[in-house]
Amino acid sequence: MGRRLPQIFFALSTLALVLIVVAVWQATTPSWKNYQHTFFQLEAQEEPNALTKAAVLATPPQIHQILLPGLQRVDRCTTCHLGVDDPTMKNAPEPFRYHAGLGPHVPSRFGCTICHGGQGLATDVKDAHGNAPFWPDPLLATDYIRASCGRCHKEGDVPGVPELTEGRRLFETEGCHGCHKLNGVGGSIGPDLTEEGANHRSPEWLENHFLAPNVVSAGSAMPNFHFTRDQARALTYYMLSLTSADMGSYYASVQLIPSPGYGRQLFVEKDCIVCHAIGGAGAKVGPDLLGVTKLHSSEWLDEQLINPQLVYPGSSMPEYDLETNARKALVAFLSTATQQDAQDILARKGRVLTPEDAAIAAGKQDFARFGCAGCHGTELQGGVPNPNAQGGQVPSLLHVSDDYTKDEVLQIIRDGKVPPLDNAAGPTPPLYMPSWKHLMSDEDVHQIVEFLWSMQQKSTESW
């Protein structure tokens, strides 16, 4: 009984040993070590000295990682992409090539995945590039990379990315808010878009969806806005940039790029024209600002904006408590500002509105801000298809005063309205008037009605 037991035990122990050796071998030969080896050979080629050549080749392989607590990520991409920040690797083959044109966005401070997507934690090609199951964020196609700028630069112009500015503009003016919530504001007919950029839809899907919503997503209530391909791309850029993810204080501080446009906006907001002139246009209390950037260094101007008393004791210029980027923006604007700018600013400033006009103007803004235009049209013309609603489309608002009193319209905006059916047995129309009372103040609703009525008068006259 049991004569062969020790032999079996010995055989199994040997097998266990073999398995351990295999496991260790598997763990000691990851693919990134091969890449590093190739890179060191590449580096060694450039070395003239045999000693340094040997030293380069003998570099111990190790994982490189960029810790970015501010962005809540760890990027190990540079474990293989070893030449990203080395200009001598300009012509090296991938994955070692130098990343040109990054400006201030050096990998050591920003990592890679914040723009490119992919899985920063991974150390093998397939997983790192995000083409792996259960990693929702694959590498963003090159055509769409620039959309990522909008993840930090959430406002204002982003130089080199006109698509983002255009996308934001379209979103505001085409009335997308009417159906979609963004950062808590907007309707609820369509999905909330606050995290659309974090949903990791493919850019191609988004773009096609904007061109023909019903084709990509059957039964979608979204009207076809007949966007051009460029507009669809601009909106896709904007969608890809949408995420509420916390970018940390350092990255949040650069949300606004100090562009001349933003500087001009500040110039108007802070009423600089009250004291200063540009090229003679404006007041003469302070110095004329034409060519001021050629007169003084940007450091000097910055100091002046922080603490005017320090530079000119007794100066009557107030301290404005502007952020670094706001000051830079002002200086950027001043370097391009002309007399024409000052005249434009002065021309807009003078007009004083009557309370009625003000209400109508505010109503017009509300109409755009809350996205009413999305369904009712920017010119109140209606006409968005709404199958099985009476008339088959969203009604025009140009003749509201014929059918309703102001109070009735107030009521409809506050409580919403389900459109009357064309065919009582048919399906529910996809679009309906949502209730706005939780989103709009009473003042907003009144202003919108005033705006509608102002449009009515015009249209009856023209009829």
Partner: protein
């Protein structure tokens, strides 16, 4: 040389293993081995009787403790670092994927082996007198194993973990009156969150393993005290007693007990207590049936250990432990499924929350605990207990069928979908 021999002697302190005395001393002079008897019954070692399932379960537990402690060095039990630590194990920790896979697959294997071990004990009638209480301890160990697996399931903090625990704890909350509160105490809130993770972690690495070790000690001790490893008693023929030795105290009038004298055994009286023996006895000459634990039992145990370890290692080399996306409370997978061993329960719950989620599992556990006291039939011979075998088989098959349906036949919306039909769930 003499010094080395002396040092070795000071450690082992036994006669050479070639002698019977040495073989016995190997066992009872060694604190780790003396849970064994010096000699074991031949019948107990038969593979086809026990399949060594108890041993294998214990060895899996040892693997789990070892790999588990190693994993603790790399794990922070708060979200979302917990998930990042899984990624680090996968991508940068030396042998991290292997370690995690071994822990994962051992955990699944242990649930399976505990269950199979229970079936074996039932089918061989080994829960019968005097082993009733050890069956109860075994059922508690089964529950602890499920508890350990369930609490460990949450720790990777991925979608799989998050929703399995959400569904699993929801099943528990169907119990009337206390259900909701038990869930809240377990989760430290109303939903699975940071508080739940730290609670599950403490349960998984401290409380449940401690209980497991304590009960395992009781379980093993009782095996010794109840008559050693189980064996097919019904196949052994009680022989007619021959030479008898009377054990009695000379000072007292009546003999206390009469036993058969084994020819090669010296009898000495240490102390006398009155009463019947508590352990299983068949025949006085069963000593003839016994062999020394070394080498017969020890090598078999060691082989069982090596089979378990190599099996788990081989599987772990080729199959990595699953890891899905970071847990996202806002994104419910469809269908959200509990861990596989609770899918039978989830299947029942889908038909009736109260009956399936509370009454059925409660009855199941109570019935298991009560089996040795309820089953009054003293015979272990299979032909004498047809009813019991049928009932238990139905119980096992029903469980398996429910788990298979829940695992492979339930698609989005818990609709009946055969596994060979691929259904794409719409995101919105």
């Amino acid at each position: 040389m003499n010094l080395i021999r002396e040092i070795w002697q000071s450690i082992v302190r036994r006669d050479p293993l070639s002698t019977d005395k040495g073989k016995s001393e190997l066992v009872f002079l060694n604190v780790w081995l003396h849970i064994h008897p010096a000699k074991v019954k031949k019948e107990s070692l038969r593979f086809k009787f026990t399949f060594y399932l108890g041993f294998i379960t214990f060895f899996l537990f040892l693997i789990l403790v070892t790999t588990g402690i190693a994993l603790m060095f790399y794990y922070r039990p708060y979200p979302p670092q917990a998930y990042q630590d899984m990624k680090d194990l996968q991508f940068v920790v030396f042998m991290g994927p292997f370690l995690r896979a071994m822990h994962r697959w051992s955990a699944h294997a242990m649930v399976v082996c505990v269950f199979l071990h229970m079936c074996r004990v039932f089918y061989t009638g080994s829960y019968k007198k005097p082993r009733q209480f050890n069956w109860v301890v075994g059922v508690l160990l089964l529950l602890l194993t499920l508890g350990l697996s369930f609490t460990g399931y949450l720790l990777p903090w991925d979608q799989l973990a998050y929703w399995a625990i959400t569904v699993g704890t929801n099943i528990g909350s169907y119990a009337p009156i206390i259900g909701g509160q038990v869930r809240e105490i377990l989760l430290g809130g109303h939903t699975v969150g940071e508080a739940a993770l730290i609670r599950f972690y403490v349960l998984h690495v401290a409380i449940l393993p401690s209980l497991m070790i304590l009960l395992t000690i009781v379980h093993f001790w009782r095996i010794r005290k109840d008559g050693g490893l189980s064996r097919p008693l019904w196949k052994l023929k009680p022989n007619a007693p021959e030479a008898l030795v009377t054990i009695g105290a000379p000072a007292q009038s009546a003999p206390l007990r009469t036993v058969q004298a084994a020819p090669d055994k010296t009898y000495g009286l240490m102390e006398v207590v009155t009463g019947k023996p508590i352990f299983e006895t068949i025949t006085p000459d069963e000593e003839e049936d016994a062999v020394f634990s070394y080498p017969y039992a020890f090598f078999r145990e060691a082989i069982a250990l090596m089979v378990t370890v190599t099996g788990i290692m081989a599987i772990s080399l080729f199959f990595h432990a699953p890891l899905e996306e970071l847990a996202n409370p806002a994104k419910t997978p469809n269908p959200a499924k509990a861990p596989w061993y609770f899918l039978g329960l989830q299947e029942l719950v889908s038909h009736s929350a109260l009956l399936g989620g509370v009454v059925a599992p409660a009855l199941m556990v109570l019935a298991l605990l009560a089996i040795p006291y309820f089953d009054r039939n003293p015979s272990r011979r299979p032909s004498d207990r047809k009813w019991a075998l049928w009932l238990f088989t139905i119980f096992v098959v029903a469980n398996l069928v429910l788990i298979v349906i829940g695992t492979f036949f339930r698609g989005p919306g818990w609709a009946l979908v055969p596994p060979w039909v691929h259904v794409v769930a719409r995101a919105e």
